[in-house]
């Protein structure tokens, strides 16, 4: 038990620092007038074991999101998007269930499943997250086109970083 908390705690700190100390500092753009900000930290929620309760998922997402917000000085934007992503996770997992099913105690990693499955899962989760994040960032339906463009560009860079991150560290759980 302590082991799991320590592991996720460490991952939490690592992801947070990488996000705010590395990714936040590198300008990705603007492409036209749109920035292609990459986000890796949603991995924390994505990798949690299947058996994690829905309530715990939401609370973790909210807390982690708020911490990221503290560094981005954008109170609530990251938190709301991460909560949204965490809320959709169980339903998404039901739809993406592999033929031999999930092992409840395992994390949702490349090593536990496979690259293709994880890529699809990560793509969906990032899409949910970025769509909601950009909607909250722009905060008006007037610029729907901008929201979609931002989401698309951010998605490309984020997906790239998430996959690189996973392939380099390749965690078991």
């Amino acid at each position: 038990m302590n082991n799991i908390v320590l592991k996720y705690g460490l991952r939490f700190v690592l992801l947070l620092l990488f996000q705010v100390l590395v990714l936040k500092q590198i300008p990705f753009g603007p492409i036209g007038s749109i920035w292609a900000d990459p986000f890796v930290y949603p991995l924390l929620i994505m990798l949690l074991p299947v058996k994690t309760s829905k309530e715990l998922l939401l609370i973790l997402a909210f807390g982690f999101g708020l911490l990221v917000d503290a560094f981005y000085d954008s109170w609530g934007v990251h938190a709301s998007a991460l909560v949204f992503m965490a809320f959709l996770r169980p339903a998404l997992l039901r739809r993406l269930e592999p033929q031999r099913g999930y092992t409840l105690n395992y994390g949702l990693t490349i090593r536990r499943y496979n690259l293709i499955w994880f890529a699809g899962y990560a793509a969906w989760m990032l899409a949910f997250f970025l769509l909601f994040y950009n909607s909250m960032l722009v905060f008006t339906p007037v610029y729907t086109v901008e929201i979609l463009l931002r989401t698309f560009l951010s998605f490309v860079t984020s997906f790239l970083f998430v996959m690189i991150f996973m392939l380099i560290f390749n965690p078991l759980d």
């Binding site: 309530e55 109170w75 934007v77 938190a79 909560v83 008006t140």
Partner: protein, 281 residues
């Protein structure tokens, strides 16, 4: 208790989700300048719309009061109108040097009333108003609207009166053509509730479509000069000596609710005169 727990275990996640999102959105709006500004302007938009809707509904409930107020106002203005006065001036001078305003004495007063029953479909249409003898309404008083004549009171009880509508084949209203002075009688031949027929206008007079028809003031029922309608077409049937004039009414009988009963303050004198005339015959 068990029901609540089961409900929470089923929908608790959704509640938690919406709660956390609500907190997030609150934080976004409260601590982010751009989003806060957008929120403030759209919130004003929404609350403004709600308020203006509310205002519409509220003003609907206030209409009763408004109608009463406006009716009182119409009565006041009508009673100030010169046609409601009798010019009490009898100097045997051939030239009327000056109108002496102190000699105007009121001749007509008005009682605001509301139509509570109306029919248009028959040939002998009657309507009911919510004023009666308690308010000074008596049989054979005229009933007008702000757009023209409505009818003549036939019977009164304490609080109600039945009125012979102008759209009744038995009615005859003395009318004249404005600025020309030709007079005749207005009758209704049945059928279309938007038209009345003016008869007894001799054919040597010049009547044209577009002329205005008003009350003549030749009776004790209506003051003179109340607009009735516009001449739509006029013709002299072959072999007759009088015009048939189709008058398009200004009053929409199917929509009118507010009416005014005309009280002739010289009623007693008129009755005395009529009694003398009758005794002569």
């Amino acid at each position: 208790m068990y029901g609540i727990l089961r409900f929470l275990s089923r929908f608790g996640t959704i509640f938690l989700f919406f709660f956390l999102e609500a907190v997030s959105v609150y934080l976004i709006v409260r601590f982010n300048e751009n989003q806060g500004r957008i929120y403030a302007s759209s919130a004003n938009l929404i609350s403004g719309q709600v308020l203006s809707r509310y205002d519409k509904v509220a003003s609907y409930f206030g209409l009763r009061h408004q109608v009463d107020f406006l009716q009182q106002e119409v009565v006041r203005l009508e009673q100030e109108n010169r046609r409601s006065f009798f010019y009490d001036y009898a100097e045997s001078d051939t030239v009327l040097a000056q109108v002496d305003s102190t000699r105007f004495i009121p001749m007509y007063a008005y009682v605001p009333a509301e139509i509570i029953n109306n029919s248009l479909s028959g040939r002998k249409n009657m309507l009911t108003i919510n004023r009666g003898t308690a308010h000074g309404v008596m049989p054979s008083m005229g009933v007008i609207t702000s757009n023209g004549v409505m009818g003549i009171v036939r019977h009164s009880t304490k609080h109600l009166s039945s009125v012979m509508s102008a759209l009744n084949t038995q009615i005859r209203i003395s009318a004249s053509i404005r600025n020309k002075g030709y007079f005749g009688s207005l009758i209704w031949t049945g059928g279309d509730s938007r038209y009345m027929r003016m008869v007894d206008v001799p054919k040597h007079n010049q009547v044209h479509p577009g002329d205005t028809v008003e009350t003549s003031g030749f009776s004790s029922v209506f003051p003179g000069g109340i607009l009735i309608g516009i001449v739509e077409k006029c013709w002299v049937p072959s072999g007759e000596s009088n015009y048939q004039i189709e008058v398009k009414l200004k009053t929409d009988f199917s929509r009118t609710r507010q009416v005014y009963v005309v009280k002739n303050l010289f009623r007693q004198e008129f009755e005395e005169l009529e009694a003398k005339q009758a005794s002569d015959e």
